[in-house]
């Protein structure tokens, strides 16, 4: 009985311990209390979901967002080089970047039914703990993200 309880506690502890980030994004954010965000399209800054998402991530990580300017391709390059932690933008549902970055669930969708455009966050591939944090934050602030 005691052994079973101890194993269950150990397992629950392990549940929280994994996953970790290969490039240590979450640990760095926790240590420096700062994460870097860029917008793929400056026009979306006024979208309520963008500020709500960033605030939710700030609340969950107890870190502040530092905004960086840039555009499309160069932002993904900086994401890959660990210079940026998060890119938020409007991307097509079947974005060609889907294999190069990890997308969080869409916060909202616009465009036509045949070519939907999704407002969502992109993170560096493989940073699984950080990706989970952004996915959880996306679901927390958007019904559409929760439904995916």
């Amino acid at each position: 009985m005691m052994r079973g309880a101890a194993f269950a506690i150990l397992l629950l502890g392990a549940c929280d311990a994994l996953p970790r980030d290969p490039a240590g994004t979450s640990t760095r954010i926790e240590r420096n209390r700062i994460f870097i965000v860029a917008l793929a399209d400056p026009a979306i800054r006024s979208a309520p979901q963008v500020s709500r998402l960033v605030e939710e991530i700030e609340r969950r990580t107890k870190a502040r967002a530092r905004w960086r300017s840039g555009s499309g391709e160069s932002l993904f390059q900086q994401l890959d080089e660990v210079k940026i932690d998060l890119v938020i933008g409007r991307f097509t549902a079947d974005s060609p970047w889907a294999t190069d970055v990890a997308f969080a669930p869409a916060l909202s969708t616009s465009g036509t039914k045949d070519a939907p455009i999704e407002l969502k966050a992109a993170m560096r591939n493989g940073e699984n703990r950080w990706i989970m944090t952004v996915e959880r934050a996306s679901r927390a602030i958007s019904q559409e993200a929760r439904d995916q």
Binding site: P22, N125, G126, E127, E135
Partner: protein, 311 residues
Amino acid sequence: MSQTSLPQELCEPMARAIRLEYWNIFWTLTIIVTMGLVLGQSETMKTAWIEDTLGLVPPIMFLIAARMERHSHRSRRFPFGFERVNGLGFFVAAVALTAVGALLLYNALMALGTQEHATVGSIVILGHDMWLGWLMLAAQIYSLIPPLFIGRKELPLAKQLNDKLLHTDALMNKANWLTGAAGLAGIIGLGLGWWWADSLAAAIISVDVLNDGIKALRSSTAELVDGAPRALSSTDLSQDAQKVRDRLQAEFPDATVRLRETGRLIRAEVHDAHPPLECRHPRHYWPDEEERNWRLAQVSFIPPIKADEKS
């Protein structure tokens, strides 16, 4: 003499093997669906999933071959029946294993070379966010269980039927824990932030698939080109065949004995020797226990050429 290719003695174990292979396909399908649901971007999971899917090839080939062996009669067009269909199925399974194993190994090495970082995000289950890796681990553990039991049951039947296809399948199933362990280590490594663990585990699994394929390919091609009968689990010469050769050589010391294998049956040619005066069934020459004497299906004698016939 049976009108089909299957010796009468093997009807009952063959029926059991067929039932087992249907169960094998059923359980393999449940594994494929379970693994498919939590595949994600992990190389380990994709490789393990393809390996599990490939696991369907040997039982399907076995069932096709068994059907032809049991139900297709000898005819003018196929006077020897379909006893070699099993060997053909073995060859097809071997080609599939080798080709896919090589492809998977290439993919895993490319992923290692380009330092691909696999993304395994979260999933919502009953309102709770959960790391998909935990479900991958659960699916990997589930994928270990059915093959272990099926492999254990297949092995004695494969030996009884002297069926290389069934035997390869049994060994693949029994050795599945190895790839399962590599898969588990790959996902745990990925969770610990070791990006290379995923691709490395995928490479280990694909080497195992490739190894199975090459062994099966060597053994199956040996049969197709009339090589000497090979052992069930390796490319070594079969012990049964060695004993038959020794038995025939002992009675016909000046003859040249040549053996080949058609499916599960051994066929012998005794060159430069006259047949014995009394009428003997090929099974007479079987040197071991009687219940396996069906293995020796033919003993032919080719007498020496007389001096006047040479010219």
